[in-house]
């Protein structure tokens, strides 16, 4: 179905059957249903299969370095708070190379939505373990299987005071779209960890594997209770989907000096030379 975020004449480099396709689909639908236009949105990403997404959707895009999308995205938002900023990446991108930015972006709470295609593997570099790979997962590098405890991104975000934490499953376009809509509409940093099958390199965590382990949170789940959300996040062998936690607090941009009494984005400004001259003469 045609969508205003469709990009024409593109050659999508993802493998047929990849979970990245339904995520792209969900995202386009979510944006359209939120009545956003391509020129309202900046898609920011790092490097990896997931991070190619900005090349497959209509909008502004910034496809930066592996692991650094959250830094780029926060600065874009800080330079122009009127833009909708969506940061996209893979599990290696966001939780591996980008782990430190992930941790500190949570603290800062900029108004960006962060969608992580969590396929528990490094897709683009051909199948090494990622920070979310399950213990025992064998690869050409992890020849004896993964030893380290996987990152639990949802628990990490909750433990560090994230304002919005969600989890979704690529295989379910409708629900993923709904969760995305909430994240995008949320004013503050909103993480959605999206479980995504990688049909080429992850033969363990397949569509079927995920389907057996996911369930959606229902109305009874209190989204303002961090401990409850953490309990969900730390359940072994099950993945609670939906919005685990959501509670607004002031966003990073709202704290910034330039916007105290002036809404203009930075590009539209010039320094006050008279004031500067005064400052210099006072020294």
């Amino acid at each position: 179905m045609a969508n205003r975020f469709d990009l024409e004449n593109i050659d999508i480099a993802w493998c047929p059957g990849c979970g990245d396709f339904p995520i792209l689909e969900s995202l386009k639908k979510a944006l359209t249903e939120l009545d956003l236009m391509p020129r309202d949105v900046v898609f920011v990403s790092g490097i990896g299969q997931a991070a190619k997404l900005p090349h497959y959707i209509k909008g502004h895009f910034f496809n930066g370095l592996h692991g650094r999308a959250l830094s780029n995205a926060t600065a874009i938002k800080a330079a122009n708070p009127s833009l909708k900023v969506i940061a996209i990446g893979g599990d290696g991108d966001m939780y591996g190379e980008g782990g430190n930015h992930f941790l500190h972006t949570i603290r800062r709470n900029p108004d960006i939505a962060n969608f992580v295609h969590n396929n528990m593997v490094y897709g683009l570099t051909k199948g090494q373990a990622s920070p979310t790979s399950q213990v025992g997962f064998k690869t050409p590098v992890q020849v004896d299987g993964v030893f380290s405890t996987p990152v639990n991104p949802v628990a990490l975000a909750l433990a560090q005071g994230a304002a919005f934490v969600g989890r979704a499953f690529a295989g379910d376009i409708e629900q993923t779209k709904e969760i995305m809509k909430k994240a995008i509409a949320f004013k503050g940093y909103a993480l959605v960890d999206i479980l995504q099958p990688c049909v080429s390199f992850n033969k363990v965590n397949t569509y079927a594997w995920f389907k057996e382990r996911i369930y959606y949170l229902d109305e009874s789940h209190d989204r303002s209770d961090r401990m409850k959300a953490l309990e969900r996040a730390l359940e072994p062998d099950r993945f609670a989907l939906g919005v685990l936690y959501s509670q607004e607090r002031p966003s990073f941009e709202s704290s910034l000096a330039p916007y105290r009494n002036d809404d203009r984005p930075l590009y539209a400004r010039s320094p006050d030379l008279e004031k500067l001259d005064g400052l210099i003469r006072s020294l």
Binding site: N63, G64, A75, P271, L273, D277
Partner: protein
């Protein structure tokens, strides 16, 4: 009786040393503000250990009737606030140095210098005022007294500095100062030395250091986004900008690491901000991947790189000029860049402003290279000229078919930002097509790489010539760059040799086209550099083929002094 200045028209060099946290900064502040108002010319430079309390740090303040702008070894008046004076100070005491100190505190430390030592019971007096903390103000009082300053400026200084802390504090400080003034009178009465430097009042002078000059230049250049991770000696610029953030509408964020800092800058630049990152060598090393990102995205970013000795942590609060090659080659792949290395405060202001202009105009990274000596040194000078022209914005509105990386003869594509105009704006770290989408094509790759590298020609056309100081028909030429400018200048003045000139590079990349010609005209060329491998000399050889055989190098952690350059050159040129 020792007379200061030692030579007619000379300056008096005062060195105050003491433990970290002991108030040297207060002495420096007070003296400089007060002396400046009185119409003296002042120069100040600090050297300090990498610790918060204890140890022994020092500040040199030169006071003169003529402008002074360089570090000297000579100490006329040495004021050790406490014991544990370090070798680098002791080594500089000569027969003309007068040491004013508290015998009780210093014990036998200056045992060999009885003739030059004047006891001033600062501690006892401080205790009488209210505690040891007042020792530094008393010392300041002594110096104020020796220079015979009037009380007006002193009072207004105290009001400004301590007024907020309440009347009692002001009064106690005032008392400490008075005691110092009295002690000064007594010291002079002993007749062991006289002090006869005269003020020379001039209209509107300011006194700033390198940090201020870079910060002000950034503001003048339209800087409105500063991201940094604290690192000596670069964090001064971060604090400076943070303190001006409200007044000048700057986003200032201390980020989690240097990689974040540079990636914020690139993201911000993409969205239309004018970003500055400030760091030192180790932080810059971490940023080089991001610098390469700025290059491929053609995002205008400015980096202030304040050098300190490496490798690795090296000497965290010391100075060196050993990161020129890092600045020049940092980052993978090939791309143009601009590197300034201001030699004067005026240049620091102008060139930082210019860095923003060139970065925006050429959509290429610009680096301002300073060092610890430079950022922490100050002198008085006329106010920087802000002018009336606003920083030029090179941004265009994005039309519906906007292509971020459109081909152009000089390699510069019209830059738009998201949200300004109808069109969509892309940026990509891969090799990309004109819109910015990743596209693997070998011809495209070559075209885009050529486009980016072509900007080097336009940048080259804007290169600033090195500054020639001295006779035009030189036979001997000294080259230097960055913070040694005034030091070499004063050394050459003192050498006063016919046919000797200096060439200072305030822009170290690209090198100006006249470089080969200017060097070729000399019979002998000497490179003076604050590093161990003569990085500028090597670069000059790479670019011009001219080998500079004579080198005066310093990598002790302290900057060259005028004397060290003078004597070094005397040896090399004899």
């Amino acid at each position: 009786m020792i007379r200061f200045p030692r030579h007619e028209g000379g300056d008096v060099s005062v060195v105050i040393c003491g433990a970290a946290g002991q108030g040297i900064q207060t002495v420096e502040d007070l003296l400089v503000q007060v002396l400046r108002v009185e119409g003296y010319h002042v120069f100040g430079s600090r050297e300090y250990m990498s610790r918060v309390r204890g140890g022994n740090n020092s500040t040199e303040i030169r006071v003169s009737s003529r402008p002074v702008r360089a570090l000297v070894d000579r100490i006329d008046l040495l004021i050790p606030l406490n014991g544990g004076v370090r070798a680098n100070i002791i080594e500089r005491i000569d027969e003309g140095t007068i040491i004013i100190g508290d015998g009780e505190e210093l014990g036998t430390e200056f045992a060999g210098y009885e003739d030059q030592f004047l006891n001033a019971p600062v501690l006892e007096e401080a205790r009488q005022v209210g505690g040891k903390v007042y020792a530094s103000v008393i010392a300041a009082g002594i110096l104020a007294g020796l220079f015979d300053v009037s009380t007006g400026p002193v009072e207004s200084y105290f009001e400004k500095r301590f007024g907020a802390k309440g009347d009692k504090i002001v009064a106690q400080n005032r008392e400490a100062l008075d005691r110092g003034l009295t002690m000064a009178r007594r010291l002079l009465e002993k007749g062991r030395f006289s002090l006869a430097v005269r003020p020379n009042p001039q209209e509107s002078r300011i006194a700033v250091n390198g940090t201020d000059a870079v910060g002000l230049g950034a503001l003048a250049g339209g800087c409105n986004l500063v991201t940094a991770y604290p690192m000596s000696p670069a964090s001064g610029v971060l604090s400076f900008m943070a303190q001006k953030a409200r007044d000048f509408g700057v986003v200032v964020e201390q980020v989690e690491d240097e990689i974040a800092a540079i990636n914020w800058a690139v993201g911000g630049a993409y969205a239309g901000a004018r970003p500055l990152v400030t760091t030192s060598g180790g932080g810059f090393a971490l940023m080089t991947e991001g610098l390469s990102l700025a290059a491929v995205m053609e995002a205008p970013v400015v980096v202030h790189l304040a050098q300190r000795p490496g490798p690795a942590t090296g000497m965290a609060t010391r100075t060196e000029q050993a990161d020129l090659e890092l600045a020049l080659y940092g980052g993978h792949g090939e791309f143009p860049r601009v590197i300034f290395a201001p030699g004067s405060l005026g240049e620091a202001f102008d060139l930082t402003r210019r860095a923003f202009d060139l970065a925006s105009r050429f959509q290429s990274p610009a680096i301002v290279l300073t060092d610890q000596y430079f950022v922490n040194s100050f002198y008085d000078l006329p106010p920087f000229d802000v002018g009336r022209e606003l920083p030029k914005s090179y941004l265009v509105e994005a039309g519906p078919d906007y292509r971020r990386y459109a081909e152009s003869p000089d390699g510069i594509s019209p830059m738009a930002v998201p949200g300004h105009g109808e069109g969509l704006v892309g940026a990509d770290s891969h090799e990309h097509d004109e819109v910015g989408h990743v596209y693997e094509d070998f011809h495209l790759r070559k075209r885009m790489n050529d486009k980016r590298l072509r900007k080097a020609e336009a940048i080259f056309a804007e290169t600033l010539a090195p500054t020639l100081i001295g006779p035009d028909d030189y036979r001997d030429l000294v080259i230097c760059w960055g913070s040694t400018r005034h030091i070499v200048e004063e050394a050459l003045d003192e050498l006063d040799r016919p046919g000797l000139a200096m060439l200072h590079f305030a822009q170290v990349w690209p090198l100006h086209g006249d470089t080969a010609g200017l060097l070729g005209r000399a019979e002998r060329v000497v490179a003076v550099e604050g590093n161990a491998t003569a990085q500028l000399a090597r670069l000059i050889r790479r670019e011009t083929g001219i080998e500079i055989k004579e080198k005066l190098l310093n990598y002790s952690g302290l900057q060259f002094s005028v004397e060290k350059v003078r004597e070094g050159l005397r040896d090399l040129l004899s």
